[in-house]
């Protein structure tokens, strides 16, 4: 225990650390560091692994990437990946803050509706991967063409295709409820306004809705494009098509499911969370969602009831409309380890990883050859998606890259439309004006 010496005057005592001793110690330390630096660099040159940082989201997919990182480390010793997880709701803000602070990692997961893809790419944050792909002998033709098209911005490949999906084109059907109603499981050639509507009405009962959908822009694509419409004109990407007859007809049909036919739950009947909870808890006999939700739904449903995925129907003209979604891996243009990072990309998009993706809650691989593997070719959920992928187009994004504002305007006004019992046409017009106001903004 330290005690103070009452007779010792600290104000006048000399410091133990005098200038000569300090300089001598500093020189010794610097010498030691200098002497060992060549050794450390040599160790790295001789095979110390390159360390890279990868950002992605928490949850089931986060666990998948952590497992893939462990497998990657066991398979080779050149690259070590640190997977950094962030909750989905904060993911965009996290990446933006890291970038602003100069702390963004070497690579990150992204998707078209997230900041890390188009908003970043429009500001030169993402590396063009074409050269790396060429050096590594990767053939871009091995991926679905729409995947490469969606990830190409001004000629640069700003993301590496990881997974693809056909939007909200899968219909999750509670077979017990469906068979109780005596209905046939929806078929590919059914149309919304004919056989499909009849089946959904039959499946509905006093205590159960027939069909549920999420109240947001991406879920509405399946209806809108099946009617031949779209949110934005794909030619100029700056004109709203919401007021066009085709889009209006699709939105009015969705509205009628809730208000006229009363087979779909209104906002207040959807359990907190999303329509998945509503399906799992048997409040609805069927639900529109994407193929990536198969494993989580299977875990949630367990043995409660038998279920399967079927295809969402065609529009009145017989067309199946949706959007081809894409999950991708983006590389920081400032990374000092591009080859190491691309090696991680190639691992995640290999045939083996592609086969594991679906179990990890990641959309199925964008690599075409993997879809021909038996595990995928014979998967009934993926067969539905494969049919869609051959018919649908990519998402049309605003020309001014204001993706977040665009989505917010649609989602909020779409809710207003679904809540509007008496004047849906007026609500659609307000939705159109709100979206056009965003599209009229200057580019970011």
């Amino acid at each position: 225990m330290l005690t103070r010496n009452a007779s010792f005057d600290y104000r006048t005592a000399k410091s133990r650390l005098d200038r000569r001793r300090f300089v001598r110690n500093a020189a010794l330390t610097a010498g030691a560091v200098s002497a060992t630096t060549p050794l450390r660099l040599l160790a790295r040159a001789q095979g110390e692994p390159a360390e890279i940082r990868f950002h992605t989201r928490t949850g089931q997919t986060g666990e998948y990437y952590q497992a893939q990182a462990e497998a990657f480390h066991q398979a080779q010793d050149r690259v070590r990946v640190t997977v950094e997880l962030t909750p989905n709701d904060e993911y965009n803000q996290k990446l933006t803050t890291l970038l602003a602070g100069g702390e963004l990692g070497d690579c990150w997961w992204a998707a078209p509706f997230y900041t890390g893809l188009y908003p970043f790419a429009s500001r030169g944050v993402n590396m063009d991967l074409r050269e790396l792909a060429s050096q590594a002998g990767e053939d871009l033709g091995a991926f679905f063409p729409a995947s490469i098209e969606q990830l190409t911005v001004d000629g640069a490949l700003v993301g590496w295709p990881l997974g693809t999906h056909a939007g909200w084109s899968s219909m999750y059907v509670n077979l017990d409820a469906w068979q109780e109603a005596g209905g046939e499981v929806p078929q590919w050639e059914w149309t919304y306004d004919n056989e499909w509507l009849a089946a959904v009405k039959a499946a509905a009962s006093e205590n159960r809705f027939g069909f549920a959908f999420d109240y947001q822009s991406q879920a509405a694509y399946t209806f809108i494009r099946s009617w031949g419409g779209d949110w934005i004109d794909p030619e100029n990407r700056s004109s709203s098509l919401i007021a066009a007859p085709e889009t209006t007809a699709a939105l009015l049909f969705m509205h009628s499911l809730v208000h006229e036919h009363q087979v779909s739950p209104p906002q207040e009947a959807i359990l907190p969370g999303d329509a998945n909870s509503t399906f799992v808890n048997e409040i609805t006999a069927s639900w529109a969602h994407g193929v990536w939700g198969v494993s989580s739904t299977a875990n949630a449903v367990g043995d409660k009831f038998a279920w399967q995925t079927a295809s969402m129907p065609a529009g009145p003209g017989g067309a199946h409309g949706s959007f081809q979604g894409i999950d991708c891996l983006c590389m920081n243009a400032q990374t000092e380890r591009p080859e190491a990072t691309f090696e991680w990309f190639r691992w995640l998009t290999s045939v083996e990883a592609g086969l594991a993706q679906l179990e990890g809650g990641v959309p199925p691989t964008a690599r075409v050859a993997t879809w021909d593997q038996p595990q995928m070719a014979e998967n009934p959920h993926l067969q539905v998606t494969r049919q869609w992928l051959e018919e649908i187009e990519p998402v049309t994004f605003p020309e001014n890259a204001r993706v977040s504002e665009f989505q917010t305007a649609i989602n909020q006004n779409f809710q207003a439309l679904m809540l509007e019992a008496d004047d849906p046409e007026g609500a659609i017009q307000r939705l159109h004006e709100s979206v056009q106001a965003v599209l009229d903004q200057p580019s970011v």
Binding site: R123, Q267, A269, S404, L419, V444
Partner: protein, 297 residues
């Protein structure tokens, strides 16, 4: 004289040295960002792009072109109006109850105060379940009583009243009540006794003795309450996301969306400065109106 000034200067320097950690923190983390945000409000700063000076364009957009600005102001004002009025009245009523000498006052004081300790996120999630229109227990009770069951957080008409209800549940009985209680303790009992002897009713004693002497406390709670209510954000962010259909798109939520979702940091800075000026004006207005109405002993 010169030596005295030198010694005074030296003492002042030592004093500044002692407070320098706080001073540095204040300059770097408070005043610095405030000054920087004022500058940013006149730029198109977007965090990850080039920054250009745009003058007053952000303010012009705010007042004349932003389709959500005025509705956000209105919604925040409505919410604050409900919460401040009912909150002050309710807190004062609870304080009067606790000051009346009832049995179990200590238990009641604790029971009233506990809801104010609930984190906002937990508040939003729990009340979201309680107020679920189809499956929540609140509407279940209303149904059993034969009363109408509103849509609460899923209804455009009921979303703000539902938010106010959640906020008031935590507010009444919290810090405002405790401050009122402290103020009531400062009302001299002799005045009450004298008025009672003179035949004044309970209402007259409250109106003519308690309220005037409590006016400084009411004034303080009013200022703090208005500022706190106008700042509503976390509750709307977690419970409704600003919906349904922009029904709970409050001002600070709008600011957050512009800053962190749309990356319009320059415009968000302008929104922040407008908010600061409004709160400052409201506070000064309250001080002006307080003259002649707030009685300090």
């Amino acid at each position: 004289m010169a030596m005295s000034m030198s010694r005074r200067s030296k003492r002042a320097a030592i004093g500044y040295l002692y407070i320098s950690p706080w001073l540095v923190g204040f300059l770097v983390f408070l005043l610095g960002p405030i000054v920087a945000s004022f500058w940013l409000s006149m730029t198109n700063y977007s965090v990850i792009g080039d920054t250009t000076f745009v003058g007053l364009d952000n303010y012009d957009y705010m007042f004349t072109k932003d389709p959500l600005f005025w509705s956000a102001v209105g919604k925040s004002a409505l919410f604050a109006g409900i919460v401040v009025t009912v909150g002050l009245t309710g807190s004062l009523a609870c304080a009067l109850l606790l000051d009346s000498g009832l049995r179990g006052t200590t238990f009641l004081r604790t029971a009233f105060f506990i809801p104010s300790l609930t984190p906002v996120v937990a508040l939003a999630l729990i009340w979201g379940l309680l107020l679920q229109p189809r499956y929540g227990p609140v509407n279940g009770l209303l149904y059993n009583l034969g009363l109408p069951q509103p849509g609460w957080l899923n209804s455009r008409e009921w979303a703000i009243p539902a938010m106010a209800l959640i906020r008031l549940w935590a507010l009444i009985g919290g810090a405002q009540m405790v401050i009122f209680l402290a103020g009531l303790q400062g009302v001299p009992q002799e005045l009450q006794d004298a008025a009672k002897i003179d035949g004044a009713s309970a209402w007259r004693r409250f109106r003519d003795i308690t309220l005037p002497l409590l006016s400084p406390t009411i004034f303080f709670n009013l200022i703090v309450g208005v500022i706190g209510a106008l700042k509503v954000f976390a509750l709307a962010f977690v419970a409704t996301g600003g919906g349904p259909a922009y029904a709970t798109w409050f001002y600070v939520l709008h600011l957050y969306q512009e800053a962190f979702a749309n990356l319009n940091m320059g415009y968000a800075s302008a929104l922040a400065w407008f908010f600061f000026i409004v709160v400052l004006i409201l506070t000064l207005l309250q001080f002006a109106l307080a003259r002649g109405r707030v009685h300090y002993s």
